[in-house]
């Protein structure tokens, strides 16, 4: 990182600077000073985004591991390593983010001692901890190969089937349990979002977003690292995404139908506007786009559909964690800028670490010498791509 300052490098440093300032406020003046959380709104974006969305966005790891190693879809092999890397970084950074949100983070290890098996939070904690360990082992071969350590490579190959099954099992459990977190609040969470089916929806959306994120990430990496974009892989993922979206949409529809909510959700209201936004981004736009074969076969079309899916499900989870509680609380919650800046800092750190890992480890092993970007001219530059590229340099 010795090259001259570029626009995105400045942005990156600014994000880190503001984030560190907010970190200082958080740990020297407390949660009340750094956030707009209150007794009326005890959970803000650090739970709504960093926890709920962060873990969903890292779902690409278990989706791709499942596709390639469990179902033996050999053609998707090239996306496994970046997906596992993203997941591993995502989970580590989520744990870092949790240290900001917990009021007494120095007691986080109490989870291991004073276990309460009736608590969904405990179950999630246990799963996330175990799964991060599994991801670490799934990530390790990169390091072994980098230093050409043959014995450990042989060893990891032996235990890989166990790691794969354990990883998918743990993911199934905690991805759905994030939804179970809200099952205990039937009187508080708005009926648009409260449903006994929440754990199923959280698992379903994790798979859709896992696929969408892999498309997004492959496209971004192609741009940022000047890699050749494998259209065949993206097309396959796009098809799977379309199916996943239809299944999710159908389940949501059935849920509203059986709870007699279909009349409610089309009536304009504060919550309805947010619901419409979510449904449009998560279902209407990407399903429409992907229904055209022309779009399914074009990198830009797949890229747009995946971004819309990701944004839609982020909106969905923010609605569940934040919008859905506003009527009960009688209070509008808008995060303070310092809350945003901590979240941004964590995301930026994730991009930077991803860039570093790609630079130093065989994440994209099939291309030792990166070819020139073929996509660069075709899609508009995005913050992510730029930060990725420049930090890695």
């Amino acid at each position: 990182m010795k090259s001259k300052p570029t626009f995105w490098k400045v942005v990156f440093i600014a994000i880190m600077g503001l984030g560190l300032y907010s970190t200082f406020i958080r740990f020297f003046y407390g949660l009340g000073a750094v956030s707009n959380m209150s007794d009326k709104f005890p959970w803000g974006i650090w739970i709504g985004f960093d926890l709920l969305c962060g873990i969903m966005l890292a779902a690409g790891g278990f989706c791709m591991i499942g596709a390639v190693y469990l179902f033996n879809v050999e053609s998707l092999h090239s996306v496994v390593r970046p997906a596992v890397l993203t997941a591993f970084l995502g989970y580590v950074l989520f744990i870092v983010g949790l240290l900001f949100d917990l009021g007494r983070p120095w007691y986080i290890w109490h989870q291991m001692i004073y276990m309460n098996p009736h608590s969904v939070m405990f179950e999630i904690g246990l799963c996330v901890m175990s799964y991060t360990t599994v991801l670490f082992f799934e990530f390790l071969p990169n390091v072994f190969e980098r230093f050409n350590l043959q014995t450990p490579i042989k060893w990891t190959k032996k235990i890989y089937p166990v790691l794969i099954i354990l990883g998918i099992l743990l993911s199934t459990l905690h991805q759905s349990s994030l939804g179970s977190l809200f099952l205990i609040m039937p009187s508080k969470l708005h009926p648009f979002w409260y449903t006994p089916a929440l754990p199923f929806f959280f698992f379903g959306s994790a798979i859709a977003v896992g696929l969408a994120m892999t498309i997004f990430e492959s496209t971004q990496s192609a741009k940022a690292f000047g890699r050749h974009l494998e259209l065949g892989v993206l097309v396959k993922l796009g098809g799977a995404l379309l199916v996943a979206l239809w299944v999710n949409a159908l389940l949501r529809f059935q849920d509203y139908l059986h709870r007699g909510m279909l009349g409610e959700i089309i009536k304009p209201s504060y919550e309805a506007y947010f619901l419409w936004l979510e449904l449009t981004l998560a279902f209407v736009i990407p399903i429409t786009l992907l229904s055209f074969k022309r779009v399914r076969l074009s990198p830009q079309g797949l890229y747009l559909a995946s971004i819309s899916t990701v944004l839609g499900f982020i909106a969905n989870r923010l609605n569940i964690a934040l919008t859905g509680f506003e009527t009960y609380a009688g209070h509008h919650y808008l995060p303070k800028w310092t809350e945003f800046s901590v979240t941004l800092m964590i995301i930026a750190a994730g991009f930077a670490l991803f860039g570093l890992a790609v630079k130093h480890l065989p994440i994209f092993p099939e291309e030792r010498v990166p070819v020139r970007a073929r996509l660069r001219a075709e899609t508009t530059p995005v913050v992510a791509a730029a930060v990725l590229g420049h930090v890695a340099e």
Partner: protein
């Protein structure tokens, strides 16, 4: 058998002595400014509200099956066998799930502390285990807040309603809500007007059951799902083995 509090709003004169006694019991500051505050907070566990010359007290409901205790990942909240729902600060990691889960919005947080803890009415557990009544019940000059066995208090509340049907709304708030609570309320005004959630919204199902239905499946789900995943792995990789074996056979026959 659990100890309970019966609050009869029709007997309350709004003197706020319960607020003061509560603050003293829990070593919290109490002066005219605090007395004027009409919301519960980390320094005010109970509050006496006034609306149209009618009073209403708010405090922790001490649910028979408390959501706060069930959600706490480290079990920092628990229901004692005497009735109070208490808090062990030394276990707490500060995740605030109890605050989000509580249907009555009772747990409050030290938002400006660097080592924040939860605050809520804990029904004076030391006094209760020592066989005494709570500080608020002891000081109440009219008996509006009464301490006793839950069954006895329910009996008494039902008697009061029967003897003076015109004085009361015909219901005991807390009798069935969320599976029953140890704070029981009699009134002639709707408790909902004072910020209590409506009985219809709460329902009679204990809150922990909503999560229990899912969590209780996990021990059965884990072995089944592992087997399914293992099976898929075996089948999908079996094809490779078969292909490899066939290829070998071919090579062998050629030779």
């Amino acid at each position: 058998m659990s100890k309970s509090l019966l609050y009869d709003a029709t007997m309350c004169i709004g003197c706020k002595q319960c607020e003061g006694a509560c603050a003293q019991q829990n070593k919290l500051p109490y002066d005219d400014n605090v007395a004027a505050e009409s919301v519960q907070s980390e320094h005010k566990y109970t509050v006496v509200l006034e609306k149209n010359d009618k009073f209403m007290r708010r405090l922790c409901m001490h649910c028979e099956q408390p959501a706060c205790a069930s959600v706490c990942p480290v079990g920092a909240m628990h229901k004692t066998k005497e009735g109070p729902v208490v808090y062990d600060v030394w276990k707490c990691i500060g995740c605030r799930y109890c605050m989000v889960a509580c249907a009555f919005g009772q747990p409050k947080y030290e938002w400006h502390s660097l080592n924040p803890r939860i605050h809520k009415c804990i029904m004076c557990p030391d006094r209760v285990t020592a066989g005494k009544q709570t500080a608020c019940a002891e000081i109440c000059p009219t008996g509006a807040t009464k301490f006793g066995e839950r069954d006895d208090l329910i009996q008494e509340a039902q008697d009061r309603i029967r003897q003076n049907p015109s004085t009361y709304l015909p219901r005991i708030y807390g009798l069935h809500e969320v599976g029953g609570t140890c704070t029981l309320i009699l009134s002639n005004a709707n408790v909902e007007d004072y910020g209590y959630p409506s009985s219809a919204k709460l329902g009679d199902t204990p809150m922990p059951e909503y999560t229990g239905r899912v969590l209780s499946k996990i021990p059965d789900f884990v072995p089944v799902w592992s087997l399914v995943l293992g099976g898929i792995y075996w089948i999908s990789h079996r094809r490779e083995e078969v292909a490899a074996a066939e290829a070998e056979e071919k090579n062998g026959s050629k030779r």
